[in-house]
Amino acid sequence: METLDKLQILSGAARYDASCASSGSRRQGPSSDIGNTSQGGICHSWSDDGRCISLLKILLSNDCVYDCAYCVNRSSNPVPRASFIAREVVDLTMEFYRRNYIEGLFLSSAVMKSPDCTMERMVGVAEILRTEERFGGYIHLKIIPGSSSELVHQAGLYADRISVNIELPSQESLKRLAPQKHKQAILEPMSFIGKEIRQSLVERRQSCRAPRFAPAGQSTQMIIGASPESDFQILRLSEGLYRKMNLKRVYYSAFVPVMEDNRLPVLAAPPLLREHRLYQADWLLRFYGFSAAEILSDDAPNLDESFDPKTAWALRHPEFFPVEINRADYGTLLRVPGIGVTSARRIVAARRFSVITPEGLKKIGVVMKRAKYFITCSGRPFEKLDRPPALLRSRLLIGDGSGVAVQEPPKQLLLPGLFA
């Protein structure tokens, strides 16, 4: 088979993986001949669905011995199969990198024969890139659940980031939909990687010659909407992964029904809005100081479709508002709908020079059409602040009649890591 045909099959099979971030690692210097990675991450193109393309994202093989219900590549599905040899992937990566098409490689794979046999070949690709080609660009390797810790260890030495997909948010769902994958086979490498990363950081503090282990950290991904878990269960899981396993990112991928199976729900369309809301809530966990229990509860276990999670929280907590722009601390400002990390920082910076006026607030980039119901500026409110919650909800939803309706259902997959 020609490389072109393989590329089409194996990049097509990889496209549902939501992870596209290439940031968080800085690799530079004379240890390599070509390439470095850039701390902020670089997008090289945007595909027709509007997503950032930063890595050559492909599978080494789609020839799977497993039979996961939600996956196109499952063994019982009659699709064309292909496998790369290591050299093909290496050449594609190098040729694309030299032309500045990509930041590096994101290699995943179906399970060929056995987890170890697959993992070994994947590590082989990374090894050739780093040692023979002296490639210093970005490499992300997916860990195949169930592969030996020796191989995971090697993967971490060559790659900038390694990840194990959690796939589904609970063990029951895993058992039902991915019967060959066991919770242990997923969690064990995750905690092993967590330990290795921590240890390498400690060693590198003592000696800069100590080997780096996955310097950009560990991430994972789960499929949303293929199984019955609530948003609350999902967020609590993510919270645990961030806190206990030291994960850098959790990616959520709306379930795209690619095949019929009576174990799978019938969806009219992929749950994109839900995915979008989960990313927003995840953002609150990581950067806004929220906990999962603040965002959702057992009584209201799913994210509001009409409001972003922060606005929804604000509506449930009238006692927290109004927030005084000229006095509130950073953490408090962050909780105001319409104020993001950037504008909160700018407010704190601008306050040092002068009192912030309503005019100034707009220039700083605060989204006033949402924020105005929740703030005062030197004691003066922008809007009547004691509106009954129902009225406030409808105002926020349709605007105050002065402009057009503000609520547009988000159409696109939100690109994590691209707005800061």
């Binding site: 490389t3 072109l4 590329l7 089409q8 990049s11 097509g12 990889a14 496209r15 549902y16 530079q28 001949d33 070509i34 390439g35 470095n36 850039s38 902020g40 670089i42 997008c43 090289h44 193109s45 945007w46 595909s47 027709d48 669905d49 509007g50 997503r51 950032c52 393309i53 930063s54 050559l56 994202k57 492909i58 594609l92 040729e95 694309f96 030299r98 032309r99 500045n100 098409y101 795209v256 369309a269 992929p270 994109l272 920082r345 700018r346 910076a349 601008a350 040092r352 020079f353 002068s354 912030i356 006026t357 005019e359 100034g360 220039k363 700083i364 159409k411 696109q412 997959l413």
Partner: protein
């Protein structure tokens, strides 16, 4: 209010800013403009003094590194008519330190920071969108037509990344090029550009990339609006994946 004129060069701008900031009692009311050589121009002309400009820029870099880099990007943006804002911004920065950058409610600061962000944003974008093609002699060539004059910092970025290759980056509109050749970087203008022949394998690699670009998109999620807002059409001309669309 005093009016000053300078000759329109970057050194001239720095020389003038240096003089005004050190000699004027209240530099933040002064006005600085480029000399147009009309008969009726008012204002005192400040001659360009390359040494003074250098000293002043070093002072910025040492005392207010943020303002120095803001100044750098401001110049790359090639935006005319904002010299007075720049002067006031620099005066503020030297008086209050780098934190003035946060003072976006100040009109001069805002003007300067906005313009300078435009250049730094385009530079960042171009680091991703630049496309090299392999030439018959083995070197690589990239062409571009950016709004801002970002060739120099862009070439520096690639000199750290594509160290082992020989390459050129050519700014088609400004007719300037950067050349990386056996480990050293040169920048100069190009009188006449003749498109060199591509290497034989180039077409094959480009086809592979175009195939990847097509297959990676999820058909159900087509979103040309988002694609264009992230990757404005003005950059498509030299994008390998957008050829023949």
């Amino acid at each position: 209010m005093s009016r000053y004129l300078y000759d329109g060069t970057v050194e001239g701008l720095l020389s003038a800013a240096a003089r005004i900031i050190t000699e004027e009692k209240d530099p933040e009311t002064a006005v600085l403009e480029e000399r147009e050589n009309t008969l009726f121009e008012e204002g005192m002309f400040i001659a360009t003094d390359a040494a003074a400009a250098e000293v002043f820029f070093q002072r910025l870099r040492r005392d207010v590194p943020d303002a120095a880099s803001t100044f750098y990007y401001f110049v790359l943006a090639e935006k005319e008519g904002l010299e007075t804002s720049l002067l006031h911004y620099l005066a503020q920065a030297l008086r209050y330190g780098d934190r003035v950058k946060g003072n976006l409610t100040h009109p001069a600061v805002r003007n300067v920071v906005t313009v300078s962000r435009k250049a730094s944003r385009e530079l960042h974008r171009m680091k991703g969108l630049l496309r090299f093609e392999k030439l018959r002699d083995g070197a690589y060539l990239a062409r571009m037509e950016p709004d801002c004059n970002i060739l120099q910092p862009l070439a520096l970025h690639f000199s750290r990344r594509l160290r082992a290759e020989d390459w050129f980056i050519y700014d088609v509109r400004r007719r300037i090029a950067a050349r990386w050749h056996s480990g050293s970087l040169q920048i100069g203008s190009i009188e006449e550009f003749v498109a060199p022949a591509l290497s034989d394998e180039e077409k094959r690699i480009q086809t592979l990339w175009q195939a990847f670009f097509r297959t990676i998109a999820i058909a159900d999620r087509k979103n040309p609006g988002l694609q264009k807002s992230n990757m404005p059409m003005k950059y498509w001309k030299y994008l390998t994946e957008k050829q023949g669309e």
